[in-house]
């Protein structure tokens, strides 16, 4: 036989196997209860009631043990998880509180800075206002002083004039004034002539 023939025979064998498997799977797919029943029938061994009960009991014990183990495992996991959650909560809480505190400190610091600036600004303005008021007051005092001095001078001159009038108006000697009167008339002769000419 040639290789080709061998190859063909192997292929035919593989196709047959595959076809058989395909048919079996199709039957199992379209008629599952029949096949399940048959499987169960095929698989179910012949057991006594005692053996069944013992098997059931063992299965229950094993199940219970497994449950217990699972439960312990879950409890351990739960405790661990709770501890981790608590830690995480603490960390998150602390972080939040820290962040808030930092924010509060920063805001407080800004407010301090603003308040300092406001106070300094207000102090400077007050100093400037004080200087301005001082200058204004000095100016007003100076004006007032000059006014008072002028009033004093005026009052004093009025007082002296009144005194002179009061003292000298009696016993006036015109003889002593004759030369003065003629001199004064000579000095103002032109004014007088002009007045006479204007009146005329």
């Amino acid at each position: 036989m040639s290789g080709f023939e061998i190859f063909l025979m192997v292929n035919a064998l593989a196709v047959g196997i595959i076809a058989t498997l395909a048919v079996q799977h199709a039957i199992a797919h379209y008629r599952p209860e029949k096949s399940e029943k048959r499987r169960e029938e095929d698989q179910t061994p012949h057991l006594t009631a005692g053996m069944k009960a013992r098997l059931i009991g063992e299965a229950e014990d094993a199940f219970r043990k497994a449950l217990e183990n699972q439960k312990q495992g879950f409890e351990k996991d739960l405790a661990g998880t709770a501890g981790m959650l608590t830690d995480q909560l603490h960390k998150i809480g602390a972080k939040i509180v820290n962040d808030e505190l930092e924010g509060y400190k920063a805001a407080l610091k800004d407010m301090h800075v603003q308040a300092d600036e406001a106070i300094n600004g207000g102090r400077k303005e007050m100093e400037a206002y004080k200087e301005e008021m001082k200058a204004k007051l000095a100016e007003e005092l100076k004006v007032e002083k000059e006014k008072v001095l002028a009033q004093i001078d005026s009052k004093l001159s009025d007082a002296v004039l009144s005194f002179l009038l009061e003292t000298l108006q009696h016993d006036v000697d015109l003889g002593a004034q004759t030369a003065y009167l003629t001199k004064m008339l000579e000095e103002h002769k032109d004014d007088f002539k002009k007045a006479v000419a204007d009146e005329a």
Binding site: D153, S157, D158, M184, V196
Partner: protein
């Protein structure tokens, strides 16, 4: 009739004095006229000439050359005196005390020689001016009194006080 030149004597300063002198001149004129007639018609002596004050005498003697020659001249003199009184302006001089006669003559002589030969000068006194004079002519007033000078220099009083 030719109008004669007439200058008031310095002894007559005010219109009132001229009026008084004019009255005396009129009395004298009456006597003068009567005496002129008497001399023409009779050799008898008539009454003596009326007593004249110095101003009236000065007026009569200054009229023309040595006084009036006849009654018409006299009448002209009287008319001239009356015209003078009506048309002459008055300057009022206020002094610090009542004016003495010598000062009055001096001032009147000055006014008549420097301002106008026919001007009246009346005098008043006000002791509050202390000295100098306040002269009023028409509507013009010239205050050259000591009081005015003190008032005008009152501002300098403070300066002087500070220097003392």
């Amino acid at each position: 009739m030719k109008r004669k030149k007439f200058a008031l004597p310095d002894s007559i300063a005010t219109p009132e004095e001229l009026v008084r002198a004019t009255l005396e001149v009129k009395e004298y004129a009456k006597w003068f006229n009567q005496e002129s007639i008497r001399r023409r018609v009779s050799k008898k002596k008539g009454p003596a000439a009326p007593e004249l004050t110095e101003p009236a005498r000065a007026i009569i003697s200054h009229w023309g050359d040595g006084g009036p020659t006849d009654s018409r001249d006299m009448a002209t003199l009287i008319k001239t005196l009356e015209d003078f009184k009506r048309h002459t302006e008055t300057v009022t001089i206020t002094l610090a005390a009542p004016v003495t006669s010598s000062l009055k003559r001096t001032l009147v002589a000055w006014c008549r020689s420097s301002i106008s030969p026919s001007i009246f000068v009346s005098f008043q006194f006000n002791s509050t001016i202390l000295g100098g004079a306040v002269i009023r002519y028409g509507s013009r007033v010239f205050d050259w009194s000591f009081r005015r000078q003190l008032l005008d220099n009152s501002a300098a009083f403070g300066e002087v006080l500070r220097r003392v």
